[in-house]
Amino acid sequence: MPEIDRRNFLKIVGVGGAAAGATTLAGCSYPETYLVSSLTHPADDSIPGVPIYYATTCRECPAGCGLLATVREGRVIKVEGNPAHPISRGTSCALAQASLQGLYNPDRIRGPLARDGQGGFRQITWDEALKTLVDRLAELRRTGRGRAVFLTGQLSGSLDKLIDTWLARAAGGGRALAWEPITTGPLVAATRLAFGVEEVPRFDFARARYLVSFGADFLETWLTPVEQARGFAAMHAFDGRTRPGVFVAVEPRRSLTGSNADEWIAPRAGTEGLVALAMAHVIVNENLGPSRARPSDALRRALDAYSPQAVAAEADVPAETIERLARDFAQARPSLAVGGGAAAQGPTATATLVAVHVLNAVAGNVGETVLLGAGERRGGIASGKEMVDLVQAMNGGEVPALFVYGANPAYDTPAGLGFADAMAKVPFKVSFSSYLDETTARCDLVLPDRHFLESWGDAVPRDGVYGLVQPAMNPVADFDARPIGDVLIGSARASGEAIAAAFPQESFEAYLKAEWQALKERVEPRGDFEAWWRQALQRGGVFVDPPSGRRADLSAEVARALPPLAAPSLGEGDLTLVVYPSPNFRDGRGANRPWLQELPDPVTKITWWSWVEMHPETAARLGVRVGQEVQLDEGRGVLLPFPTNRSAIVSDVVALETPQGRIEAPVYLNPHIRPDTVAVALGQGHEQFGRYAQNRGTNPMRVLPATVEAESGAFTFVTKVKVSKTGTRRGLASIAGADDQRGRNIYKSISVADAEKGTVVAHDLSAIPGPAMLPPVAQDVPYHWGMTIDLDRCTGCQACVVACYAENNLPVVGEAQVARGREMSWIRIERYWEPDGTVTHAPMLCLHCGNAPCEPVCPVFAAYHNPEGLNGQVYNRCVGTRYCGNNCPYKVRYFNWYDYSRESYNGKPNPAYAFPAPLHLQLNPSVTVRGVGVMEKCTMCIQRINAAKDLAKDQGRRVRDGEFQTACAQACPTEAIVFGNLKDPESRVAKLRASPRNYAVLEELETVPSVTHLAKVTFAEAPAAGRGPEAKAH
């Protein structure tokens, strides 16, 4: 053994220490990765690091909003609203934001599939698939007798036409049905009955000064939510001088839309139309409407029966309330009444909507806010009646072939219909779906379509709005998918020359172009097509003024179409079930997007599961226990009628039973639902549809009867149910820690009168000496980034939340983690039930305090202040003490409890990995994917700030106001979130900050935030007390 001298000692200590350190630390640190830059020139002339934007049209719902797809290094990483598009005007919704997770969904079908004979599927080649299709088509043409059926979602462009041609020629004839469970059928029927026009009218929300919604969830799923949200903000948000209009929601269950109402009126389900007629009765009797809107004698006589007193008994709404509403409604000109949601899918759906039309007509709104002949192309949806007939035909062996595209009737039709079982009787079923949904799983041949971000197409939601869909990237390599148009054309062209002659183009792209050549002849006959086409691609379509719409007189027959003066019979049972479309998933199509699963429901704030909404009184009567029952209100010592503290609700599971079936779900106590009503959202309870949707929650369609409403043939989403406790309990992962503000008045509101007077909301803190340790604002820096959030404009739609997930690589953590409060959502919408009956939706994100409590407590300067007013968070420097999170009064710091960024540990897959391939392709390359053990939070999209500053520097100028926005501000349909440079006095944000309504949340803490809120404007007295709304309406 060598002698231990000083040198040897140091050697041993050094080597041994390093070895020990290396072995112990290797397990802790991040794996090393290498970045290899491309040596070849990218094919599309893209410059690595510089985004390219492609204009396209969203296909996530039939609204037809324009999108801009942001492409980085050949991959779409984000979508934004297309500012040139007249419907979305640069904003978007949660579903549109989540379309990326449809594109990169790990459960997307990877190639064509055929039945393997053992109940499963086998992967086949496209050649095989097309050969099968062509062979079967030939057989179909011989023996099918023109009875093939093509089920689609609502289509409005060239594909619709192609399908018709293909059915007629290649499939030997058949019917195309557009199936959407959220239907406009009753609206179309009602418009026909009321005005003699079979169409969806256009509703001009922006001009309305008094808005009454009879169940229409126009901020969620009804018609065009993004456009309507913009219109709603224009009529309802305080505009700096006054508050233009009043909004009253009439619905048995208060929806997200209803939560934005100044007043919520809860009639019995199915009696909404009676309330509308009683209002019309008052207007007519008191002669409040304009003279041009005077009703016919027949109608006047018919309305006589619907006195507020008579209706009050049926609808369970006080006659005085109806009278007050009617007077306010008539006096505010123009006003607007809309009907939809459950009111439009009840047993008297069409009559209810006729009643709403009558109300609009007698108040003189037709031609003002209700526009007919405005070119809306939102009709044409197959009725429930047609579906019943189809199922009968299928069961009778009358349907030789079924083609399905963009529809999932095996999931989203009422159980009473038995669609899924009937499919077994169809000998040949083809699905073009990209996902293995319930319908596709029952098909014989699956020919996966490309995602709309990889495809050509168009959408015409309204005359004059011709939206183009173009591929924003090469198809995701993981999926061997072909555009449905190409498959249809290819199969037709392979079916013999006679048929091929009907399909002169070889691809759908060429077909589309030919269609648009015809369109150009109509809208702009002059000029070169190619240039026009290129311009259309750049703008996302061709937008010409839509027909302006006109007024129309009520038809003479309208009196006969009114609902009978009695609450409709809804079958047997003790409570009324209202099935409503989920704001997150719509009819269920969004359920396989993890962002949308983790996105809390905007009303209940529950994630990842289904629930039964029940009034606390009803729950008490049934002995249903939910979390904590009743808690003292600290502020005033008053017992609130609803539970106030339940982040993780553990509640009794109840069963809802009808003759059609039984579903079970835990109860959520909602004070904003009638005690005789329970509600369940559509969208969950998938049996198929991939890992994120499967076996999650319950599908209320399973208890719905297949009864259809007589006039429109629409299915009924309202039925009586038997409710019983199952004896089991289940937790619901809610993000809401409390449902009211506990009298703390953190999110302030101000009365309209005070707002008009310019009363300053913020306290004057100037007398208090400023915080001594406040970091001085850097004088030589031209920017101080800030934001204002207008609580009066926020509708709670949460588009911003999903936009933030997409922009900033936020991991989805799953139900169990959300139940522990570990969601990573940098921005959240806090929903509070206020004592005055209103609901506050308060966006909360890092406020980037000037005197930030998080900064001094960080022991290593990971939380630091940047000269431009931002709170930086240096992930690499973070040790993970979480002191910053504790000391943040707004609770907007999020910790990486697991490694959501790492695919595997030592070769074993990481169960917490949030981006299973190919979801990882969506990750924004400009934003770090955070590792385990570090704190993260809103950066105010610093990557966008830096990109804008770089560009401005290259061009030798300063960043201009509005040149870029944060992801949340950009998504917001109502412009509640405004971002900009506070040091620029001309910037929008600086001007908004000067508003008297501007204040800092928890201002008494003197955190001096860069993000400030603007107080909500409410009527000081509850409108129910008979004051308020009418005084301010004009």
Partner: protein, 466 residues
């Protein structure tokens, strides 16, 4: 061989009657017999202890590789069992130095028989406490960034952060209390050296630093001891004050209070004395030193518990009063929440263990002198003091400013990992304590003798310089 330094006043008539009958030799023999080769009981205990520790270590290893998610954290509760346990152990560490240093300076002579145990407990408790910040942080492999070391990045720790103060306070406290402990051991180790053979003799020989018991050595020793006592005394107050500022410097309602430093120090001594009782009561029985550590000593500790416990109880009521009197809705909400909210069980456990039971019993002398009862109440106080920190940390975080972000009971629940590490920390502490009790004189021979009447007849018979 009594010296005349001010640290060792001439023995007066003592109230500790049983002790005064002991001879110096008897003291040596009684205490040093614990250093004999361990018996089967000790080995079994030690193996059980190591097994429990191993479970804790494995739990930590699992947490280190998968992430802090395996702990029960439920934001906004981002500090929980680990920090609770950290503060708990730092608190335990208090009474050791209090007994050995402050009471030394205050001439509380009853401390002599228990101070060694208390001091050992201090050192081991700090060693235990010091692990918890590392267990608790998200990336323990970079925790050294909290130390001010020269680096190429030119980034120093943020000296504004109470966590950095903590690093200094705890490490200083550990250094000083360990030094104090080791220095205080020197004469006793020398005695052990003289009474032992074989490897033990060599080991003690090194540790005794060549102590011969000369007058000069005693002189320096006493001076050094007093100097260290004076040095350690402010640390007793400072370390837990600094730990309390981890909370008081935050703006969280329930934390942000000026009362925190004295409140924490009193609580620390309260729990520390209780822990001394917990350790000493079985040990004096097992090693048969009931004559050295008498019921009088135990009563003195109980009185200290009563005194500090009363301060703690008073602090609780002051917290509530302040919250009410301030009119601050967040403070009011927090304290209302503590008493009635989701975690009210934790709060009432704390009140019962720390206020109700001690106040109802310790005022009565017969109970203070009832040894089984003292053992029981020491456990009760330890549980109560753990819950005190739990209440301060978890409940304050669970209910602060923004109602929407409140946590609730179904959320933060201690996880198996945290429980294993919590129990493992007791095993870690126990491991050191078991080793200590077998390898080092666990009652101070030197100081016990100082309070005994001088041995007039057997002046030269006692070994080790006495």
């Amino acid at each position: 061989m009594a010296t005349t330094t001010i640290g060792t006043p001439a023995p007066k008539t003592t109230t500790f009657e049983t002790m005064s009958r002991l001879s110096y030799r008897a003291v040596n023999e009684t205490v040093l017999q614990a250093l004999k080769a361990p018996g089967r009981g000790w080995y079994i205990l030690f193996l059980i202890d190591l097994a429990v520790l191993a479970v804790g270590v494995l739990a930590f290893a699992n947490q280190l590789t998968t992430g802090l998610g395996v702990a029960g954290y439920a934001p906004p509760v981002m500090w929980a069992t680990y920090i609770t346990t950290f503060v708990f152990w730092v608190g335990i560490a208090h009474s050791g130095t209090l007994i050995s240093a402050i009471l030394y300076l205050f001439r509380a002579r009853w401390r002599t028989s228990v101070y060694r145990v208390a001091e050992a407990m201090t050192v081991f408790a700090v060693m235990t406490a010091g692990l918890f910040p590392l267990i608790h942080v998200g990336r323990p492999w970079v925790a050294y960034w909290l130390l001010p070391y020269p680096s190429q990045g030119h980034v120093w720790p943020n000296f504004k952060s109470p966590l950095v103060w903590d690093v200094f306070a705890v490490s200083t406290y550990f250094t000083v209390s360990a030094t104090f402990f080791v220095v205080g051991l020197i004469p006793d180790i020398a005695a052990a050296r003289d009474a032992s053979t074989g490897w033990r003799r060599r080991l003690y020989g090194i540790l005794a630093l060549g102590w011969r018991g000369s007058n000069r050595e005693w002189h320096h020793y006493s001076r050094a001891y007093m100097f260290l006592a004076a040095f350690a005394t402010p640390l007793v107050l400072s370390v837990h004050s600094v730990v309390s500022w981890d909370f008081a410097m935050g703006i969280v309602p329930g934390w942000h209070a000026t009362i925190f430093a004295p409140y924490f120090v009193a609580g620390a001594i309260f729990s520390g004395c209780a822990m001394v009782l917990t350790l000493v009561i079985p040990a004096r029985k097992i090693f048969g030193v009931e004559e050295i550590i008498t019921v009088d000593h135990l009563e003195a500790l109980a009185k200290l518990c009563l005194f500090t416990g009363t301060i703690v109880g008073f602090s609780y009521s002051v917290e509530f009063f302040t919250a009410w009197y301030s009119g601050n809705p967040f403070e009011r909400g927090q304290f209302w929440f503590r008493a009635t909210g989701d975690y009210a069980v934790g709060f009432w456990t704390m009140v019962t263990c720390n206020v109700i039971i001690p106040q109802l019993t310790l005022w009565f002398k017969p109970l203070r002198r009832n040894i089984p009862f003292l053992f029981f109440i020491s456990i009760v106080i330890n549980i109560g003091m753990w819950f005190e920190r739990y209440v301060i940390i978890v409940l304050s975080l669970g209910h602060d400013f923004v109602p929407f972000a409140f946590g609730s009971r179904t959320q933060y629940v201690i996880s198996p990992t945290e429980l294993a590490i919590l129990v493992g920390s007791f095993a870690w502490f126990g491991m050191f304590f078991l080793l200590f009790i077998k390898f080092l004189p666990w009652v101070s021979l030197t100081e016990v003798k100082e309070v005994l009447p001088p041995p007039l007849k057997e002046r030269t018979a006692a070994g080790g310089g006495h």
